[in-house]
């Protein structure tokens, strides 16, 4: 038996019972990485063997030694009769935006190409304490700025395991791909506008963005500090619930982490959906998109399979006893991306200030006269296009003469988006929802290079997800079928603050009800023909 076929729960259970060695688990997964991942992303312009085209390229760095040491520790605890933790022996990949002592942490940017943090992110520390094996760092859009993972300074970028000519989505594309390609059962990602859920949808895995503050941001290299959420990517809902259990909780190192008690997410899954009120919204069956010349917003249809998948999921849940609430108004959903354009970029521009070549990371080797030149040359050479665009826009909309018109206005829009959800979830309101069901993305995975370069269109692939970040509420994306091209479709449930348990229940109920669906038996392209796919 090859342990890459097992869920995280099964691995942990077998390792804890002494039926399976963590070392064996590690070896299986390292072998799978060897088989499907190809060369890691690099700053150098490599001429690649054509066979690399069909590889996944999820990883920037495989930390085999670190994982080996952890596996040995897990085995030692098992031998001593101690509890090695709820994730004992489970290999986990980490989006390379988290600082992990003993790894290089690049944020997929040249400016941090050599940065080795002397500390470990709280979320990663919790995984390690729970017995997980940190197997490597995954590729992403530079500083998480993107929705395809193509903008990494380290190329080749990750490819979608379902069709390697397609993107993984992003920015947690490497994470999603590593889970879909069975290189790991679990991955740690981050979601600022949809960066866990969108790649999870594209790669046919489960991705959960927790409530803002539910998981600690300490050690996460910041994008939009008021929006960033670490969260799990997994192959099924119970594994996501298990990982969230480990990640969730307050952290004295993060003042914005929440004190709210952490429920038993796995136990909650068993409660089913009978009586849950699940909402659908017509404001989520299309997107609003600005004309590039006039800025006029026009309504655009989304891929029809997205809406039919939402219908299918709703019907399946209705059969299980959920109440479906139609036509829940989300009038401000269409303002999500414009407001996000402003808020996230103001925070991003400020968060990027510290990368100046003075203290760590990349510093220009060009001769410079004076400080300004050092800054300019270092940042010009060290940052890719996306950070530069975001700095320009962030600086512009927060400038004293523009702030009221853009930044302050965007903050008001943000609270309007939040109030849409508050009304929908209000237990004394007209809708009294437990969850809102929507497509995760307007389309399935697009072709490589198709959208890259059009920063606006790229951003609009987050239109379905971004409202959750503005509102700070939890949301989970789950696989809900394949489109005619065989690409995964994702649907998402939004929930109330700190009610991850409710959206996980709904997601799990659907997952269970469709366990034998034909599409669930389809194996991603990158795994077909490999010895470990059977």
């Amino acid at each position: 038996m090859n342990s890459i076929q097992l869920s995280a729960r099964q691995i942990a259970q077998k390792v804890r019972a002494g039926e399976l060695s963590a070392l064996e688990v590690l070896e299986d997964h390292l072998r799978q990485i060897q088989a499907v991942d190809g060369v890691p992303g690099s700053l150098q312009d490599l001429s690649l063997d054509p066979s690399e085209e069909s590889k996944v390229h999820a990883f920037l760095e495989v930390s085999a030694q670190l994982a080996q040491k952890q596996a040995e520790q897990v085995q030692a605890r098992v031998q001593r009769g101690e509890d090695p933790g709820p994730l004992a022996g489970v290999p986990v990949s980490i989006k390379d935006i988290f600082c992990v002592q003993g790894t290089t942490t690049t944020a997929a940017s040249r400016i941090l190409y050599n940065f080795r943090p002397p500390y470990t992110a709280t979320t990663v520390e919790r995984l390690q304490k729970a017995g997980a094996l940190i197997i490597g760092k995954t590729n992403l859009d530079e500083f998480t700025y993107g929705s395809s993972s193509e903008s990494s300074a380290f190329q080749p970028h990750p490819n979608n395991p379902w069709n390697t000519q397609r993107v993984t989505g992003g920015s947690s594309g490497g994470s999603a791909a590593s889970v879909a390609a069975r290189e790991v059962p679990l991955s740690l990602g981050t979601d600022t506008g949809g960066s866990i859920r969108q790649p999870a949808a594209f790669c046919g895995v489960v991705g959960l963005k927790p409530t803002y503050g539910r998981t600690s941001r300490y050690g996460l290299i910041a994008f939009g500090s008021s929006l960033d959420c670490p969260g799990p990517l997994a192959r099924d809902v119970p594994d996501a619930a298990l990982m969230l259990q480990v990640l969730a909780g307050t952290d004295p190192k993060d003042s914005t982490s929440a004190l709210a008690p952490v429920p038993d997410y796995l136990a909650a899954l068993q409660e089913g959906v009978r009586g849950l009120r699940i909402g659908l919204s017509r404001d989520y069956d299309h997107i609003s998109y600005p004309d590039t010349l006039t800025g006029e917003m026009s309504v655009q249809a989304i891929q029809p399979e997205m809406n039919s998948a939402v219908r299918d999921v709703a019907e399946a849940l209705a059969r299980l006893g959920a109440e479906i609430v139609e036509d829940v108004p989300m009038p401000n959903a269409r303002h999500g991306i414009p407001a996000y354009f402003v808020i996230s970029r103001v925070e991003a521009a400020s968060n990027l200030h510290r990368f100046d070549g003075v203290k760590y990371g990349y510093r220009t080797s060009a001769p410079v006269r004076g400080l300004s030149e050092l800054y300019r040359a270092t940042r010009a050479e060290g940052f890719g296009l996306q950070p530069k665009l975001r700095i320009l826009m962030g600086m512009y909309v927060s400038a004293a003469q523009h702030s009221a018109q853009y930044y302050q206005k965007a903050l008001r829009v943000r609270s309007m988006i939040r109030s849409d959800f508050e009304q929908a979830f209000d237990p004394r309101g007209a809708y009294r929802l437990d969850a809102l069901l929507t497509p995760t993305t307007p389309t399935t995975a697009f072709r490589r290079s198709e959208v890259l370069g059009d920063s606006v269109l790229m951003q609009y692939s987050d239109q379905m997800t971004v409202a959750g970040n503005h509102a700070g509420i939890p949301a989970v994306s789950i696989p809900a079928g394949l489109d005619p091209l065989g690409l995964p479709i994702g649907v998402q449930f939004f929930g109330m603050d700190f009610r991850e348990d409710l959206i996980l229940r709904a997601a799990y109920a659907y997952e269970q009800a469709t366990q034998n669906a034909k599409w669930r038996g389809v194996i991603p392209q990158a795994l077909r023909g490999s010895e470990v796919s059977a």
Binding site: Y119, S255, S350, R354, D356
Partner: protein, 478 residues
């Protein structure tokens, strides 16, 4: 020449004396430490780390706001002030912008003519300090030790009218900071830093003209001198028909001159926005009340009370309230001395003050406590020891400890008032001084003092002077 009025506002940075920095666990004070030895990932701006607010800094900030009669904001916010400089490792300073911890407030200055000048506070907020840079051998060096040290920035309205007034404001502020225990306020160590905004206008006018900003006026003398120099320069320029430009000037204390640093035509845009890594600072009504009620009696109030209740001169009251510990020392000593306010004041102004100067100790640090001082004063006043012995006891208690009465007893320092003992000493003096005795008896009564002196010499100063005089007269006139 017209008459001009000088208009001054001061911007002060006050280093709070908390144990740790404002957003991390590093020690707050790095005095004497090697560069970059008192730093951590948080205060040196590594990626991914987050600030955690030091509650003690908030408490001290609120206490200072209360002492400045400012309104304490129940909900204040931290903001990011974005700019690039190598000593600012995050590329932004975490500070408070539009909703600071204190709003309004004032400090009253007593002018030499007895009138009060009220200096209004424009802004009082918490922030983190930046590091230091210096150029050495053509290289720019950065020291992050000071990054994240908690500061209160306090800016006055343009309510000061001379270098002298500005100096007095700073003196009084320094006293207040130490008094309420929020800062060591040592200007040499940068605990209290000052920039001065100076402009001039025709006397009687209410307009505010273009101002210049003088940086680095980091001693009270520097404030006085730099402002006077700059006001003089501005008046001369205006008289010569020139326009005052908005310069930033640097005060060079060594040469006593102002140097132009840069013109300040356009204000930098710091692109302030709320710091998303910190929660709003919420102070409950109880916490605000606590800050206000934990405020001790302030220096000016105590000074007024000393003048009223103890009938001290303004001068004595000034000195005795210059530090809180000294004024506490005084009050405790007076109370232990049964209210002998004037006597205690004399002892403290002269002898105790000398002892403090000689030992370099503050009132709080003295080993000689108010109970000891009171005991010594009572021994002198009760005629048990001479004034000279009393004074020498101060140093003895300070050096070796012990109770004054015990030392007097052990070392036999008490005055000899016993008639038998004194009489035999007197007899001996008279026996040695036949010529003087004859002169005295012949009418040269001024010799009495000389005889007393002789007795004192024989007794090592311990003869009770009053009794000695009486017995001498008895024996000489016999």
């Amino acid at each position: 020449m017209k008459t001009y009025e000088i208009v001054i506002g001061l911007e002060t940075h006050i280093q709070l004396n908390t144990a740790s920095k404002i957003f991390c666990a590093c020690k707050a004070d790095s005095w004497g430490a090697e560069p970059n030895t008192n730093i951590c990932p948080v205060c040196s701006g590594l990626p991914g780390v987050l600030p955690v607010l030091n509650a003690e800094a908030v408490r001290k900030g609120a206490l200072l706001a209360a002492a400045m009669h400012a309104e304490i904001n129940p909900v204040s916010y931290f903001d990011r002030k974005n700019y690039f400089y190598p000593d600012l490792p995050k590329g932004y300073q975490i500070t408070q912008f539009d909703e600071p911890i204190g709003k309004g407030g004032y400090m009253d200055l007593e002018m030499p003519d007895g009138t009060i000048r009220r200096v209004r506070i424009h802004k009082l907020h918490l922030e983190e300090d930046a590091g230091k840079t210096k150029i050495e051998l053509g290289e720019r060096l950065v020291d992050f030790n000071r990054c994240g040290v908690p500061l209160v920035e306090m800016v006055t309205e343009p309510d000061l009218r001379s270098g002298e007034e500005a100096a007095q404001y700073l003196t009084q502020l320094r006293q207040l900071l130490r008094w309420i225990g929020v800062s060591e306020a040592d200007m040499e160590r940068g605990h209290l830093r000052c920039d001065a905004n100076v402009s001039i206008r025709e006397a009687g006018s209410a307009v505010l003209n273009t101002k210049t900003e003088i940086k680095n006026v980091n001693s009270i003398d520097a404030v006085r001198q730099a402002i006077s120099e700059e006001a003089k320069r501005q008046i001369e320029a205006v008289e010569a028909g020139q326009r005052i430009q908005s310069y930033t000037l640097d005060w060079d204390a060594d040469t006593g001159t102002l140097r132009k640093m840069r013109s300040k035509e356009s204000e930098a845009d710091y692109r302030y926005f709320r710091e998303p890594d910190l929660l709003p600072v919420v102070l409950s009504a109880e916490e605000i009340a606590q800050a206000q009620s934990s405020l001790p009696e302030l220096p000016l109030a105590r000074r007024a009370r000393f003048i009223r209740d103890y009938q001290l001169s303004a001068y004595d009251a000034d000195i005795l309230t210059s530090e809180r510990a000294l004024s506490d020392y005084y009050e405790e000593s007076v109370s232990l001395c049964g209210g002998a306010a004037k006597v205690v004041s004399n002892w403290m102004m002269n002898d105790l003050s000398r002892l403090m100067n000689e030992t370099g100790k503050s009132a709080a640090e003295l080993r000689l406590r108010p109970a000891d001082l009171a005991e010594i004063i009572q021994l002198v006043e009760g005629g048990k020891i001479s004034t000279a012995t009393g004074k020498s006891l101060l140093a003895k208690v300070e050096a070796g400890g012990g109770k004054p009465a015990g030392i007097v007893e052990r070392e036999g320092l008490g005055l000899i008032a016993d008639e038998g003992a004194l009489s035999s000493q007197i007899a001996a003096v008279l026996a040695e001084s036949a010529a003087e005795v004859e002169s005295f008896r012949a009418g040269k009564e001024s010799l009495l003092g000389w005889f007393v002196g002789q007795v004192m010499r024989r007794t090592g100063g311990k003869a009770d002077p009053k009794r000695t005089r009486e017995l001498l007269l008895e024996q000489l006139k016999r």
